[in-house]
Amino acid sequence: MLKDRTTLSNLAVEVENLGRVYKIRMNKKEKNLRKELVALQGVNLQVRQGELFGLLGPNGAGKTTLMKILTTLLAPTSGSACVAGHDVVKEPVVVRRLINMVSGGESSGYGMLTVRENLWMFSQFYGLPSKQANQRIEALLKIVGLEDRIHTKSSDLSTGLRQKMNIVRGFLTDPQVLFLDEPTLGLDVGASRDARKLIRSWLEEDRTRTLLLTTHYMVEADELCDRVAIINQGRVLACDTPSVLKQQLQRDALFELTVGALNGLTVSKLEGIPGVRKVTHRESGDSNVLSFILDEEAALAGVMNSLTESGVRIMRLDKHEPTLEDVFVNLVGRSMDEVEKEDPHDSK
């Protein structure tokens, strides 16, 4: 274990009324003309020591902005944030000793260096003794199944293998608080599973470690996180354990209908049916998938009638247990995919 672990309060991360506004230049000619983009507003969060906390939301929701503030890369425009008991604005150097971050899809490091050399280089920026750094590199590469590539130049790695190397970089310095921003982005199913196992075992080994994870994979958040905060348009809409969040929908009836052509039937028309609370729609090949959140199962009859009257061919009907995706739909009114399609500005 690290000897420099400071005395921790019970909170690994504490965020109070945090806000961030970006001023974006409109065009090159009018340099003073700037548009304000609110990335975060009034965010309050408390992450306990030892927790695996998930930030869940679509692209552009403000997850990465929050991560950047907590990792001292960005200053908030209002409010305050503390990591491991230290203010990220007033004590950035102290915070930096205690944290690390890995982002999905990053291309950090140098292509002409081998995997081991790249990881060793980053370990030195945190002051790790070379001998211990090399031992940890070998152990961690073995855990993620990359030990046979230790002497491969990183430019020769595939995107997925490179991401595994990045994940190892994050764990290498044994931070008190680790931030993972979409860590499984670009990884195949097996590699994602390995990464999730590494995350779990790292936390279980020492309960003073804390991990903050952003993802827009609901299943990942559900499987991994002790608690999740659902973020949209810079605001925290809900924050609790996945089971408590899903329980809020437990009394509702959730159905998924796979149908043929919609024949002019719209989501808003379906939402007008008595007992129908939320409907989301997505295309799946030649068919359409409609997800319903109903106040009670009896409302399904009205839905079926409406579909039949419109001549919509019903191919399949599934009743399912609530998921975090349903929680998101219930809170935002649209699915995460729909939000991303309608508001496709870049994630900050």
């Binding site: 274990m1 280089m121 003794p129």
Partner: protein, 285 residues
């Protein structure tokens, strides 16, 4: 994945303060000292191509029956252009490329000093370029039978070391500046290449200029460094020198201080700006 692998191998203490600073310098120098040598094309681009430019000047000087020392001047100048190119393309533009690659955010987020990162780049670049410069001098001297007369080796080493410190200090300072200028920096670097080749006297003694042009050119550390080195390694060097070597050494020391402090101030400004505006650590790719 195996479940039994211990993630915390044993107790260890992380370095802080000066130990962390030195570790960072060594680590950041490593890709340049070791990594860059793996790309064998450097032998062609960094030795063969500069040798072509050196050769053309040598043939011109011999065709017009210029003093034979001019051949030596050109060989030394050709070797020193390697340092200028390294400073322009691998120091000044480097933070911009680090940003594009996603490394800059990791550097800022780490507990190390950014000055140590820049110093590591400089030390690594200097070492790697030294190999190229030595190769050009050896090859040029052998091909064109250059005669050296080194009277004061200590002074020669001092001039070289101080000139390099000032030159890489300039590179460290412009690295932050070029990062702020983003893509425009590439154009600036291109724009600066040939004029600097001219006014620094890479291929002829700067005494050929009038005093004020030579004095203005002396703001580029290579100008005085090159002039002083030529005075110290060629018999007719002092006669063709711009200022006395000791004066040039003092001016170079002054440039070291100015550029290194400038680098520190600009780096701190860049880091503050990056954190305040949040755009400098964003890749535009």
């Amino acid at each position: 994945m195996t479940q039994n692998d211990p993630l915390a191998i044993q107790s260890f203490e992380k370095a802080t303060g000066w130990r962390l600073f030195i570790k960072t310098v060594i680590a950041r120098a490593y890709p340049r000292i070791i990594g860059q040598q793996r790309e064998k094309s450097w032998i062609f681009f960094d030795i063969f191509l500069p040798m072509l430019a050196v050769s053309s000047y040598v043939f011109v000087y011999r065709a017009i029956h210029a003093p034979e020392e001019y051949v030596g001047f050109v060989v030394i100048g050709g070797a020193m252009t390697a340092f200028w190119m390294n400073v322009m393309w691998s120091m000044s533009s480097q933070l911009y490329w680090e940003k594009e690659q996603g490394n800059l955010a990791l550097y800022i987020m780490a507990p190390n000093s950014m000055m140590a990162v820049l110093l590591g780049m400089a030390v690594g670049g200097m070492f790697a370029t030294l190999l190229r410069a030595v190769a050009i001098i050896l090859l040029g001297s052998l091909l064109f039978h250059v005669q050296y007369v080194v009277g004061n080796l200590v002074q020669l080493l001092a001039v070289f070391f101080v000139a390099m410190t000032a030159l890489y200090g300039l590179g460290m300072m412009t690295a932050s500046l070029f990062l702020l200028l983003s893509r425009e920096a590439d154009h600036l670097a291109q724009l600066a290449t040939e004029p600097v080749f001219l006014v620094s006297g890479f291929y002829f003694p700067i005494k050929s200029f009038n005093f004020w042009i030579a004095a203005a050119a002396s703001l580029i550390p290579l100008t005085l460094g090159l002039d002083a080195m030529r005075q110290l390694v060629f018999a007719s060097g002092p006669a063709l020198g711009f200022l006395d070597v000791r004066v040039e050494l003092i001016v170079l020391c002054g440039l070291c201080v100015v550029f290194l402090f400038g680098a520190r101030a600009l780096l701190a400004y860049m880091e503050r700006l990056a954190i305040r505006e949040g755009r400098l650590t964003e890749s535009r790719r």
